[in-house]
Every structure is written in C-alpha cells, then in structure tokens.
C-alpha cells in the first residue's frame, strides 16, 4: 500500500526546542498502529488501522488509514489526510480528504471532530461527502478499563450512517452497520502491546437486507489477534 508508506515517510520530521526554556509551538509527532488477523469463514483476514499526527499543540496534520485484506487482496482500504485544529480543551476539529483505495477508488471530503469526551471516552466523529455526492458519517468511541497497569481492556463502538441507499455497495440509508467490540491488550511497553479482540458486527435496515441476500446473515462475531504499536 504505497500511499501509506509515503505518508508515514513524510512524518519523519525532527522536533526541536528553541534555545530558551520556553516554546513557541514546536513540532511533535505521534503514530498509533494496529494490525491483526482473524479467521472468518475459513479464510484468514488481516486488518490494519493506524493514525497519527505531526504538528504543534494547536495545528496538526492528521492522517488515518485502515483496511482489510484476504487472499492477498485488499477488501476495504482507505486513507485520510486532515488538517486538525485545536478548538477547545479536549477537542480538535478536522477537515480534509479521504480516498478509498478499495472498493472503488472513491474520493471524499471529510469534516470531523476528534477528542476526549467526559469519562475518558476517545471519540472520533466524521461526516463524508463523496465525489458523486453521497453523504455518510462515522462515529467511533473507545474507553479504557485497567485490570493492571499493563493489562488493559478497551471497549469500543463504531457506527456507520448513510444518507441514501446505494445498492451497488450493498448499503442502505440510516444506521447501516455497527461494530461493538473489546480489545484486551498487554502493554509490554507503551510502544508495543499484543492484543486479542472480540467484535460483533451487525447490519441494520436495508444494509442488513443486502447482506442477508449475499451471505445469509446480517451479523458476525470475529475474534482477532494483533499487535499495537505507538511511536
């Protein structure tokens, strides 16, 4: 996946503090990446999810990417490039573009909000307008429960919404799919943590109808094993 490598390469920027012991707005960077595999219908499916930023406290270039591959082919794969602006103590507003490498090379405009909600929920909410005018939205939230300082359970939820039916992509309008899951990871270090995850995916409305036609079921439960890195 070339574009991902390009983006990561662009982040290899130095950080520097000015000579006096107080800053203007020096540049830092952050990357969080997860990769895992699962057995789904006797097929090994790999998935990756990564995001990061480079910039100061107020203005950041933020990137996100994610996708699935099976049999050496990408199923879903997307990349986002966003300008992220600190708007209040716990929140960034984001605007930028998303490009789907799969399934059909679509480009979207993105506007979103990312940050920390009360009770320590990491929230990422974004609306997308495709080049053909389709409107969709995604809402993700995760929390953390510590069993020990290193053994951490991260429950999460992800919801997808579409403004209109799109039978070509087996999508119905409204809440189309939801994913409820929990990742249990062991932070060997802050930078490196193996994990297992259990997710339950369910389709709703017409999306469920389309999926039942295709696979006979509108939901599935997936067990994943993966690695999380932060750097």
């Amino acid at each position: 996946m070339k574009s991902k490598i390009l983006i990561v390469g662009a982040l290899a920027m130095a950080t520097a503090l000015p000579a006096l012991a107080a800053e203007g707005d020096p540049v830092y960077n952050y990357t969080l990446a997860e990769a895992d595999i699962a057995e789904i219908d006797d097929e090994t499916v790999g998935a990756f999810d990564a995001q990061g930023w480079v910039g100061g406290d107020y203005n950041r270039f933020w990137w996100k990417t994610g996708g699935e591959f099976a049999d050496g082919d990408f199923d879903d794969a997307e990349v986002q490039a966003l300008y992220s602006r600190y708007i209040s103590k716990f929140w960034d507003a984001q605007i930028g573009v998303r490009y789907d490498l799969e399934s059909k090379g679509e480009t979207y405009g993105v506007i979103g909000l990312q940050g920390l909600a009360p009770y320590f929920f990491e929230v990422d909410a974004a609306a997308f307008v495709s080049s053909s005018g389709d409107v969709s939205a995604r809402f993700e939230a995760t929390g953390e429960l510590l069993f020990t300082q290193r053994l951490i359970l991260e429950p999460g939820i992800a919801l997808d919404f579409y403004a209109e039916d799109d039978p070509s992509r087996q999508i119905g309008s409204g809440l189309s799919t939801a994913e409820y899951g929990a990742q249990l990871r062991y932070e060997l270090t802050r930078e490196f943590a193996p994990y297992v995850a259990l997710t339950y995916e369910e389709a709703y409305g017409d999306t469920a109808y389309f999926q039942r036609l295709e696979t006979g079921s509108a939901n599935r439960t997936i067990f994943k094993v993966g690695i999380r890195t932060m750097f």
Binding site: T15, L17, P18, A22, D25, D57, Y119, Q149, R190
Partner: protein
C-alpha cells in the same frame, strides 16, 4: 564514574585580600558521559561535573564570570535568586542572546545580597541534563545564628532517558510515565471497603474524576527518576561529616527539574533559619517540603557517636534521595519507609473552589465540596487543617517570618491575577489559558508595587519563579512577610505576593517545573521606566 559536588572555591584569591572584592571565575559548559544507577547517558556539565562547581561569593563582591560554551548548541547560565542587572540574568531571548557554540560570555554583577542560591542552565532542557550548581554568598556581617560547619545539599532528579525524549513521550500520551493509574480492582476494593452509606460516594467520586477527564493518580508527570544528593544516588550515599558537639548548617537546594521533595533527618530536629537565601525567624521542624528551585537552610545538632540519614522523599514516593551525616566517612543510618504514594482526592478542602474554571464542572455532578487536595499532603496546610497535636512538625509557608521587616511597606498600586492553567491531556501548560508563545509580556512600571495573585486551576503544584525582583509572600505575617524568589502554589490554592518593582529591564517569570516552563507556563515581564 561518580560525580561529587565540586565543593571547592574556584578562585581561592578571595580568601585573602578582603579589600579587593573583585574576582574572576571561569566556567565551561560541556557534554559529559554520566553513569547513574548503572546506565550511562550523555549529560551536560559545568567544568566537567554535575552539579557544577560551588560559587562561593561574598556580599559586596564584584563578580566576573566567564562562561565558555563547548557544546554544539547554544547555552546559558542563570543566577537563580540573585538580584542583578537584567542583561546579566542569563535567559536567552529575554535577557541576552544566549551563548553560541565556541563563544565565551562574560557576566558581571555585584553580589548585593547574601545566602544560599544556585545557578542553572536556561537553554532548552539543559538544566535536566546536568547544568546546575550551588552559590553561597557570605554575608558582610555574620548571620544572626551560629554554626560550626556547613554542607550544601543539592537535590536533583536524573532520568535515564533524554529530557527531550521524555517531553516528546508526554506529548504523545500524557500518562506515558504513569504506571500507578487506578484499576478496576482499586475501585472494587474501595467500594467493598466503603460503609453502606458511602458506597454511592465511591461511585460519585469516580464519576466526577471521569467527567472532568482528570486522573487522581496524576501526581507527577514523569516517574522513573534517580534522585541525587550532590550528584550521588542513594546507594552512593553522599556523606557529610561533623565533629562531636558541632552545630551544622545544611544548605538545601532543590535543583530537580520535575521533583518535589519532603526532607527529614530522623532523630534530628531541624531549625530552619533561611528560606530562598533570606534569613527568617528560626523555626524548629521535623520535616520540610521543598519545592523545585527553593532553598532552605537548616541548623542541626547531631549527637556524638550517631549517624543520621538525610532523607528526601520524592513527592510521588517513587523514590528518595539520601545522604548521611556522621563523624566518620562511609557509615550509614537506618533509612525510613517511603510511605504510600499520595493520590489526589476530592475530599473537603473547601478553599474558594467556586473560582476555578476546572472545578465548575464538578458542581454539575453534585459534588459540592470538591476541591483537590493531596491526601498525603495535609501537612502543607495553609491553615485549612490545624496541625496535629502529636504528629511531626512539618514546615509550612505560614511558618515563614522574615527576620527584618521588608523595606517597602506601601500598599500595592494594583493587582495582577495569574491563573495557572494547563491541558494535561495535550500536555501543555499556560498562564491565564495562554501559552508563552502566544502571550505578550506582562508590563510592570518601575517604582510601583504590584500585587501578584496566583490561582492554581490545575491538578499540579507549580513553583513560580520571578527573575530580578523579590516577591513578598503574603502569608499573614504583615511587615514580616518573607521574601521569596520562588513561590509554590498547590492545586486549587490562591496565593498573593507583593512585588516592589525596583529593577528595570526584561525578566523571565515562569513555573520552575522544567517541562511546564518549556511547554508554555512562562511569561516575560517588562519593567518600564527607571534607569538602566
């Protein structure tokens, strides 16, 4: 390799010829390899050591200090607590341009004061890399207390990770170094241990922290330090000698970048005689907290045949600095227990909490007595909690009383409010919600008296240090208010100090927690008018 305090006069000529009080000191800032607790890291030294050499000056002396930079980056030295011309203060970008690689900068000032002070780097994070050392200025007239010998105890913290890396880690994840967060089992234990009526309180409190997106275990930003006495680890066991019957003056300096200490010497009462270089009415204590950048001088009377542990516990109880007072080198005494790690509680402290922006949310969840207090820290009380009758006497700011009244007794002309603010999640710090990079200078007028009121709206303590001007701490002592160069403000606390604006030029004013200053809790103060 071990590093000892270079406790020597670096210009011995001052011992003779008291008439010619004008000495030249040469200092060189250079990289060095430093091994602490078995790990070697590159640090920055002054004349090859950290702490650097003790500067022993005399009141009235005209001092010339040539500082040569042999690093490949800019450097600087700042004379902490010394009142001098702004151009000699040593803060790059404010007082001067800094010292470029290969350059020598000459500082000139007259030591117009006496007492215990220190000097340190003010460039980037070099102070944490080792650039600090003590200054003693001998008084023109003897101090009003007696002692037979003295030792400098300079406390420090050393991270076996570059401070630049540490800051980058905190920017990635503000709880990067916190391996003491509350777990579900902690919650379960608290819930089980609570009486029936208090079980909902346990839940309410947990929810309140969550609602505010704050963490009660967030006591310090970085753990994993080695704590040093005069450059030596607890295992090295720095020792200070005494002879039977002597009164020993210990000059404590907290030169740590990020660490507060609680200091005690089990078996000895300590008589505090000086704070921030200024003589105070002697106070006998069993323990004193020392904020970053503060100094306290104490006098102890060790008994013959005894050894004593100088024990400086880090605020978060993640470790301690330790040395030994004894008659013979190489001895040691029992080391006290560190005690439990403190945790922030939302218990009743009730101190003007309405005024805190961060606290306002707490009222929405119905915990009306919420203000934060260090539970392990009740002894720092500023009157909100009467001292326990039988417990050890711990120094508080309320105990500090100047020995001579301050000279300027005018009422303040105006008040400047400085709210100490920050964003723990993003890991940056600010004053009045504005970072240094986005803030204009504070303007003081030469000759006026300004009341500075600090309001700490964060969960962290902040030792605020004003360069070039004294702060008269308003602790209820009236004309006997102690003068300080560094005032510590605890979470939720409001403290005022009056400043006589008697030095013209530009000055730095900042939190002395290094990573707080470096990320924005910093201001420039311009004194307008007066004669340069």
């Amino acid at each position: 390799m071990r590093f000892k305090l270079a406790g020597l006069l670096i210009a011995t000529s001052s011992l003779i010829a008291p008439a010619a009080l004008a000495d030249v000191y040469n200092l060189e800032i250079d990289q060095f390899e430093r091994t602490v607790d078995g790990e070697t890291l590159t640090g920055v030294s002054i004349n090859g050591t950290s702490p650097g050499p003790l500067l022993r000056l005399r009141e009235g002396e005209d001092v010339t200090i040539n500082v040569t930079n042999t690093l490949d980056v800019d450097t600087s030295l700042h004379w902490h607590g010394i009142i001098l011309d702004a151009g000699m203060d040593g803060v790059p970008g404010i007082s001067f341009d800094g010292i470029a690689p290969g350059e020598t900068y000459t500082y000139n000032f007259t030591a117009n004061q006496s007492g215990t002070y220190w000097y340190h780097g003010h460039s980037a994070l070099q102070e944490q890399e080792g650039v600090f050392a003590p200054i003693i200025i001998e008084p023109a007239k003897p101090d009003p207390f007696e002692y037979d010998r003295e030792h400098v105890i300079i406390l420090a913290d050393w991270l076996n990770d570059s401070p630049y890396k540490a800051l980058a880690n905190l920017k990635k994840r503000s709880n990067y170094y916190n391996y003491n967060r509350r777990t579900v089992f902690d919650f379960w234990r608290d819930w089980r241990n609570a009486d029936r009526g208090e079980k909902t309180d346990v839940i309410q409190e947990r929810l309140a922290w969550g609602r505010m997106r704050m963490d009660p275990t967030d006591i310090v930003d970085i753990t994993g330090y080695s704590f040093l006495v005069n450059g030596e680890t607890p295992e090295d066991n720095w020792s200070g000698l005494f002879e039977a019957g002597e009164k020993v003056r210990l000059r404590f300096i907290n030169a740590a970048a990020m660490t507060y200490f609680d200091v005690k010497i089990p078996g000895l009462k300590m008589t505090v005689v000086q704070a921030d270089g200024q003589n105070i009415e002697p106070v006998s204590v069993d323990e004193f907290p020392i904020a970053i950048a503060e100094t306290f001088d104490v006098i102890v009377e060790p008994e013959a045949g005894q050894s004593y542990t100088i024990f400086a516990a880090a605020k978060d109880r993640s470790g301690y600095a330790r040395g030994t007072l004894s008659e013979t080198p190489g001895t040691e005494a029992a080391i006290p227990e560190l005690g439990p790690r403190p945790e922030l509680t939302m218990a009743a402290m009730g101190e003007d909490h309405d005024s805190h922006g961060a606290m306002a949310e707490s009222e929405a969840v119905g915990i009306d007595e919420m203000t934060m207090n260090m539970s392990g820290d009740a002894h720092r009380g500023h009157g909100e909690m009467p001292a326990m009758e039988h417990g050890p006497k711990v120094l508080s700011y309320d105990d500090l009383r100047a020995l001579t009244p301050y000279t300027d007794r005018r009422a303040p002309d105006r008040e400047v409010e400085l709210r100490l603010t920050g964003n723990m999640e993003r890991y940056f710090w600010s004053i009045n919600d504005v970072k240094f990079g986005d803030a204009g200078p504070l303007e003081f007028n030469y000759g006026e008296r300004v009341r500075i009121t600090f309001k700490n709206e964060t969960m962290m303590e902040h030792p605020m240090h004003l360069h070039g001007l004294w702060m008269d701490l308003l602790n209820g002592e009236g004309d006997m208010a102690p003068r300080k160069h560094t005032i510590n403000i605890r979470p939720g606390e409001t403290i005022s100090a009056d400043v006589t604006v008697d030095a013209t030029g530009s000055w730095a004013f900042h939190c002395h927690i290094l990573q707080h200053a470096a990320t924005g809790m910093f201001r420039q103060v311009n004194v307008i008018g007066g004669v340069q």
